[in-house]
Every structure is written in structure tokens, then in C-alpha cells.
Amino acid sequence: MIEVKNISQTYDSRSERDTITDVSLTVRENTITALIGANGAGKSTLLSVMTNLIPAKKGNVTIDGVDVRKIKTSEVAKKVAFLKQTHQLSIKITVRDLVEYGRFPHCGGRLKDTDHAKVNECIDYMNLEELSEKYLDEISGGQRQRAFIAMILAQDTPYIFLDEPLNNLDIKYSVEMMKIVHKLVSELDKTVVIVLHDINFAAAYAGHIVAMKDGKIYKEGTPNEVITTEVLNPVFDHDFHITEHDGKNICLYYD
């Protein structure tokens, strides 16, 4: 179980306002938790703190009751995988090379047959067979995004944090991606925290939604509790129109 208690974090120690202030959250097991909120609300920052990429200024994060700062980085990597919002690589590697790095926490870079099998499985899962020997800078943005997701899947951790995984994906792959995430939870018992900008994807697939505004949690609850004009209008500073479809709240946001 991952728990966040009274986290505060800032990038600029001189600034008065913290980037995120006093956030507490319990990640529900075997559930898709969607994180929504406007640009700059602090979603990525919260994920970076939860995955121990940047240490929290105040408060603490625990995995199964143990403070992450007390767990070895190599052990954290076996429990938590994190897809960052942006990826820049300065080296020229192929899709397969990248996915193989996902096995590093388990094999320390010495891939055995089981690791190769896992790599192949993840490449197939993301439909990358034909691209697997291509260099990452020679494929499209969406294909690259799928390659990074394949790497995260190869890491095979119980907790998966995805920061805007639908970036660059077309509609077909976005839906496919969400189906994969759903399968990870329902079939493989994983726990997923996912940042989504398309609220309707959150409404359709998430079991729990956390809405963030100005570095704080504004509201959390089931999709139908969060997808309401009372919550979304202030969170996004925009007028929403909510309708219902198959018993689920869906929102329209064009003027």
C-alpha cells in the first residue's frame, strides 16, 4: 500500500508558495486512480514525490508502511514504475534496447531467458513487433510513447504511475491504452495511478478520481462524485456541461 501524508514540495526554496501543499492521499489497491487538474496544478510534482524522484520537503511517503526514503532505490524500482510526462534521451537506442532497460531492476542488466520473454511480451502488448529494431528517433511521437510504456510494463511492478500516457496517442491507441491499463488492474492485480487530461477517459475507466487545484487536492471520490459542475468548474476554471451515458457522468467542455 502506498500512503502519502502531509506532503509539501517546492522547486524554489525562496518562493513563498509551495508547489504542492499538505497533500495526503491513500492509493487504493487494485484500482485505477486518475489524477486530474489544470496545467501547473502539481500533478507531475506529486507523482515525482510519490515515486521518490524528488524528496519531499515536508511529510512522508510510505510503501507498505515503510518510508520510501529508507528503502534502497533498487528495491523501490521493483515496486514502483514511473512513466514521466516527457522523455528526452541523449543516446541513440532501439525500441528493444529501451524495453530491455525496463528489466534492469530485476536482472541488473544481465538479461536471462525469462527477461527476454518478458521483453518480447511487452513489445507485443504495445504492438511494437515491427518497430522493435528501429531507433527511437526514427519513429513517430505516438510510437515512441508506446515504446516507453512497454518499458514500464517490462519493469513489472505492483504499482504503476503514468503521467499523461495518452500524450501523442491517436484515438484508437488511447482507447487501447486504457484497456491495457484496465487489464493490468483486473487481471494482473496491479495498482495504477494515472494523470489524464481527457476527463471522459477518467470517467470511463477510473475507479477513483483525484482532482487537484493549485497544489492541493480539491476533491477526491468516485467518478460520479467528482465529475460534477461543482467540482470541475472551479478546478479547471471553465464552464462544464455534464450529461449521463450508461449511468456514468460524461462532460462536454466546448463553448
Binding site: T51, T73, A77, K78, V80, K84, I91, D97, Y101, P105
Partner: protein
């Protein structure tokens, strides 16, 4: 499985390159030995006597070993440095180790005198010199890592300024010290490829071996670190700890190589980039081997040619000339993308 993964085309290429380089080194070594023995004998019109050959070989052997060891250290240290600072244009020697070396020797003589143990005992002298080099370079490297932008310019500028300051300070001390002390300093600081400081070989070789082994053993971790700090941390690398360890090893390696064989500013940079270019891999293990061989080949072949040409052009001049042009090319190329 092992056989299959070794047989990947990319690995085959790396293996072929390594084999070719090894062959060329054997050739270059033979040429170097020839240039120091039979070539000289021919020029003087005498026949090479076996005992004379043996006595020349006895002098060549430690020099050869020092050249090879220094090449390996410079190559390994430069590759690790490029990975942790994430730039192909930087090399740890840009700080100007040679001026620090000369400066330390001068200060030792000036403060303690030419006959003090600080200056005369090669080991004491080495540890003091290495300590100074390591302190200054650690300070510098951590500075470069903190200021994320434009560190090429930054490092070059710092190296230039530091060399300038230390150089003029050294010259001032050398002017005001007495003449015999000055000659001692001069003799001690004439360390270069043609005048290797074999006095410290007993201590230099083990230190070099430790540095190389510790860095090369981390090749898999370095592979992951080349994905960038965040990605590496997510994959379980204790990034800050690895970083500090590498910086220390780099500083130690640079100081020992400089004290043994003098400064070869661009050898590491050239060797690493040449290895990348021909091996077309991003994996550190083949690159470590390839760039070490490349560095040794450059140095030995360069020395052989220089001997054959009767020292018309010193090898360091050639390396620096090629290195300078190459770094210029790299900076232009990196700025474009």
C-alpha cells in the same frame, strides 16, 4: 542464449573493431620497438648487438607499460565523465591538470626546499600532488553538475582561467627562488611521454588498476545512467551516490595519469569519440575496451612515427592539434541540434 546475443550484428561489429584495434596495436608496438632499436642502428651505420637490444628493451618496457596504462585510464575516465555530465564534448582534463601539477611542484620546492622529503620522496610528492588535483577537480566537477546549462563553455573557461592564474603564480615563484631550486623544479616537471616519471610506477599502476576496475565493473549501471538521471533513478540506480563515486574515481585517475606521463589533454576525448563512431554502440563495456585500445594505439603509433622522424614533431602536438579541431567540430555539431 549467450551465443545468440553475442552474435547480434551490432555486437559482431564491436568485436571486429576490437580485434582490428588489437592487431594494429601489436603492429604499432613492433614499429615502436624497431624505431628505438634497428632504425637508430641503421642510421648510425652499426649492427644491432643482442645485448644492446636487450638493454634498450629494458628501458622501453616500463615506458610502454606506462603509455598503455595511462591510455586505458584516460579513455575509461573520459567515457565515464561524458556519461555522467551528459555531453560528448567534455573531457575531465580540460581543467588543466598540467598547470596544477607544475604549480604544486613549485610550491613544494619553494616552501620546503629542493632536498626536503616533500619534494624528493616520489610517494610523498605524489600523494600531495594528487591530493591537490583531486580537491580542485572535485570542486569543479560538482560545480559543473549543479549548473546544468552551458557547461562546455563553463569548463573551458574555468580551465583557461585556472591555468592562467596558477601559471603566473608558478612563474613568479620560479623567478624569486634560487637557481638550483629552479633547476630541480624544472627537472621534476618535465614529465611527458618522452620523459615518463617511472619513479612512481610502483604506486601508479595499482591505483590505475583499481580505478579502471571499479569504473568498468559499473558498466551496466552506466548504461542505465546514460538514459538520464530521472530514468536511471526510476530504474533503481542510486544516482547521486554513483555520481559522487565516479567523480572521485575520475579525479584519482586523472591525477595519477598526469603525474606518471604528463598531460594528454585530448587523448581521452579523441579515443572515446572515435570508438563511438566506429563501434556504433551505446553500451559501455565495448566502448570502454574500444576507446582504451584506440587511445593506446594513438599514443604508441604516434611515438613510433615521432621516433622514425627523429622527433621532428612531438606526438602531443599532433594529438592536441587533432583534438582541438575535433572538439571544435563537436561543439559546432552539438550547437546545431
Amino acid at each position: 542464449m549467450v551465443v545468440k546475443s553475442l552474435a547480434k550484428p551490432r555486437n559482431l561489429r564491436a568485436i571486429a573493431v576490437i580485434a582490428l584495434l588489437a592487431l594494429l596495436i601489436v603492429g604499432a608496438t613492433a614499429l615502436y620497438i624497431y624505431s628505438r632499436t634497428y632504425a637508430n642502428a641503421n642510421r648510425l651505420g652499426v649492427t644491432m648487438h643482442p645485448t644492446a637490444f636487450e638493454s634498450i628493451m629494458a628501458r622501453i618496457r616500463p615506458a610502454m607499460m606506462s603509455m598503455i596504462a595511462a591510455s586505458v585510464v584516460l579513455a575509461v575516465v573520459s567515457l565515464s565523465f561524458q556519461t555522467i555530465v551528459r555531453s560528448r564534448v567534455l573531457t575531465p582534463s580540460m581543467i588543466g591538470f598540467d598547470s596544477i601539477f607544475v604549480g604544486t611542484q613549485t610550491v613544494l620546492v619553494f616552501v620546503f626546499g629542493a632536498y626536503s622529503v616533500w619534494f624528493q620522496n616520489p610517494y610523498v610528492n605524489y600523494f600531495v600532488t594528487a591530493g591537490v588535483m583531486i580537491t580542485i577537480s572535485m570542486f569543479m566537477y560538482s560545480f559543473i553538475l549543479r549548473s546544468s546549462k552551458n557547461n562546455v563553455i563553463f569548463l573551458l573557461m574555468f580551465g583557461l582561467i585556472l591555468s592562467g592564474i596558477i601559471g603566473s603564480g608558478t612563474r613568479y615563484l620560479q623567478v624569486i627562488m634560487n637557481q638550483s631550486e629552479f633547476f630541480h623544479v624544472q627537472a621534476a616537471t618535465m614529465v611527458n611521454v618522452n620523459n615518463i616519471n617511472t619513479n612512481i610506477a610502483n604506486i601508479a599502476f595499482p591505483i590505475m588498476a583499481v580505478v579502471v576496475v571499479l569504473i568498468v565493473l559499473r558498466h551496466r549501471r552506466l548504461d542505465v545512467m546514460s538514459l538520464g538521471p530521472d530514468q536511471a533513478k526510476s530504474l533503481g540506480i542510486a544516482y547521486e551516490r554513483e555520481l559522487r563515486l565516479h567523480l572521485i574515481l575520475i579525479a584519482v585517475g586523472m591525477s595519477v595519469a598526469t603525474a606518471l606521463i604528463g598531460s594528454l589533454t585530448f587523448l581521452g576525448l579523441l579515443a572515446v569519440n572515435a570508438a563511438r563512431e566506429v563501434m556504433k554502440t551505446h553500451k559501455h563495456l565495448p566502448l570502454f575496451i574500444g576507446s582504451s585500445l584506440m587511445a593506446a594505439l594513438t599514443l604508441i603509433a604516434g611515438q613510433a612515427v615521432m621516433e622514425l622522424l627523429q622527433g621532428a614533431v612531438p606526438v602531443t602536438v599532433i594529438i592536441n592539434l587533432v583534438g582541438c579541431s575535433y572538439i571544435f567540430y563537436l561543439v559546432l555539431k552539438e550547437n546545431k541540434t
